[in-house]
Symmetry: C2
Subunit: 415 residues, 2 copies
């Protein structure tokens, strides 16, 4: 029998207890032994909880109990959670978590600590909610060199974009709707500014490239500046705008970015709508593989946590994840040096004059998009070039008399 | 160091040697040790092969070599492959294969033999080519009771349907094109009659429900009767026709079926085109998760074989798959008792008269589909009911004077 202690009885912690209960028979069969919740640690009172006999407010109950094999950390944040994770690992208990903030910031040290103590630190639930992605990257695609990852990793922003595109709602109205439906927090900053997505692509990249990719080094742009106007131009290109996380290995160096981007409707990610998430992994043997499902929610996330618990039960005493090496920050390619293609929407005095001027800047064929309904606006697609060059060209365009304003600049992701 | 012997140096066997070579560094890092090909067994000569020093025609070289830890069986078929697999397992060597025929027919016995000898019998490559699906079902979704699986599991038929729908080609012309492009065998029976798909859904179901689902007990219908005419009616329903494998657990019993089916364009499988495969898994905690990628091909399939090799290298001496129990065949729900909904295309003398007659048979609202271009043809959608009832109703319709012929009957899959 395996004894589990759940630290933090919020949505995910509660879901973990529930999944372990409702699927206990099949879980025991797959794990080869019964899995029992021994303690639930939370400072709050839950007088009506069916788990009241397992609840404690005293962390020592958990850490002093040598029969506890696995600690589930669903506290969140990087303070108390970090302290408890360290204590658990150092006392020879494996730790399973959904805490992306902690994994993204202290992953290398915590993985090393797990290894040093002959236990595991697993975090399938930290990315993509219930979607199996960490284990597939780590095991199923182990035969591949991973060349790149492209994903829609945040359900809140994908829901907002879906509502904006389908129902013509403004960003503000779509955000409000998401908050009312419980798909967005009252303080939505981490989601809409891309920080949540950034942590997730940092974790996926660290596994894929087997070195720590620091989330602080990843260029991150949120979705607040995208309008339904921009979406109409994407539609005219036969594309959609999504908050896209991308990372690539280029000549031994790594590039990662989070930003809104236009993707073709033929792209496998284009049909990922509402709160769904999906991740496309490019391997040198497998080609493209995609993983799709609900990126959040109590039961999907709990299902990922419990899969980690079962894995530890099946392979006790082995440290299943490689330790991430912290390398020089120079190993990350700067956004200015990365290659991109932009969709630029501009306000103009005269369309045909503006087209001539813009075309002259790029010295090659520039594709223009005009919506019939607009007489003082157009959009153009830049060549594929280093961002610093493109920014230089756009600055030149900005200074032209025939261009009254640059309304938006959005990346186009073609891979 | 782990020594591997490859039995059968065809497309997949050759790919395995290649993947182990080109990605040797990262594979060694992930496996925790070097993985070396010690022998390649094939009765053919390969004088120009870079692996000529590893080639042997004598199986005893492999079986007498106690340093061989893992045997890769890429011979195919269920005769020699079965004999070699048994010998390997009995001599304490793990076996990895892409051979769906053997797994689908003798899986229970071979898994038991592996368990008895403390080794593994793994077959990630037998379903979905490079798509990680066996391991996710077995490990990542282990916290879930699996309620159902829906998939596009055969690249050849999916390619043919894609060409028929997009280019208006007939089945015969599309098949010929697939053969010319190397996407279909010269004898395409196993693909176009659905046998290949049937074996794959049998394997997935056996893992998902933890009991052996015999491919012989699965109702299987191929794609040869589907015409571009049928596709136009599917289009009018905002759907597409795909060769769909489905299996469900219903009140402890299992239902599985392979047949062409209309699915809505909103269904996650609708955009799976060309030779791509995808599998939707329904778990009671995770909800729907989808796995997508290239379902065949040398390198994707080899990548799945090598992932199994790495897994064995990391967990030596453990038997990683549960043994499938052979249960009473009564545990499989008969197709006649299963619930379905049909799209029925009929030739008629007079459209409005025929509509009245057809509606009278079902005693409830029947949805009709008419293509403006057809004056003696229409299609209707039956209610959702047991297939034997629907067949009874369709037989009554067939006998009516106003119906000159039943052109096709195609299932509609809504889940």
């Amino acid at each position: 029998m395996i004894n589990v202690a759940i630290l933090g009885f919020g949505v995910v912690g509660c879901g973990v207890a529930e999944v372990l209960k409702i699927n206990s028979d099949s879980i025991a069969q797959r794990a080869g032994q019964e899995i029992k919740v021994k303690w639930i640690l939370d400072i709050r009172d839950f007088p009506d909880s069916p788990y009241s006999d397992l609840l404690t407010k005293n962390a020592e109950d958990v850490f002093n109990d040598r029969s506890v094999d696995i600690v589930v950390e669903t506290i969140g944040g990087a303070k108390v959670a970090a302290e408890f994770t360290r204590r658990a690992l150092m006392s020879g208990k494996s730790v399973v978590t959904s805490n992306k903030e902690l994994v993204a910031s202290q992953g290398p040290e915590l993985l090393q600590l797990a290894k040093d103590n002959g236990v595991s630190y697993l975090f399938e639930a930290s990315v993509g909610g219930g979607i199996p992605i960490i284990r597939p990257l780590n095991q199923c695609l182990a035969a591949n060199e991973i060349d790149g990852i492209t994903g829609i990793l945040n359900g809140t922003t994908n829901y907002i974009f879906t509502k904006m595109r389908r129902e013509g709602k403004s960003f503000e109205a779509a955000l409000k709707g998401a908050q009312q439906n419980g798909y967005a927090e009252q303080n939505p900053t981490a989601d809409v500014e891309g920080h949540d997505t950034c942590r997730k692509i940092a974790i996926l990249s660290s596994i894929a490239y087997n070195e720590f990719v620091d989330s602080d080094s990843i260029y991150t742009e949120g979705i607040t500046k995208i309008t339904t106007e921009d979406m109409k131009y994407a539609e005219a290109m036969n594309g959609v705008i999504k908050l896209i996380a991308v990372s690539k290995r280029i000549n031994g160096r790594i590039f990662a970015r989070v930003s809104p981007a236009v993707i073709s409707k033929e792209h496998p990610l284009a049909n990922v709508e509402d709160v769904f998430n999906a991740i496309v992994v490019k391997g040198n043997a497998i080609g493209d593989a995609m993983f799709y499902g609900r990126g959040a929610g109590k039961m999907p996330t709990a299902s990922a946590v419990v899969a980690d618990i079962i894995d530890i039960a099946k392979h006790p005493g082995s440290s299943m994840m490689s330790v991430w090496v912290r390398k020089d920050k120079n190993n990350i390619i700067d956004i200015e040096d990365s290659l991109a293609k932009f969709l630029v929407r501009v306000q103009v005095a005269d369309i045909s004059e503006a087209k001539g001027k813009i075309a002259s800047v790029f010295n090659q064929e520039t594709e223009f998009i005009e919506l019939g309904s607009k007489t003082n606006e157009l959009a153009f697609i830049t060549p594929f070039a280093a961002e610093k060059e493109l920014n230089g060209s756009i600055n030149r365009i900005k200074e032209m008399n025939s261009i009254t304003a640059i309304s938006n600049i959005i990346r186009i992701e073609e891979e």
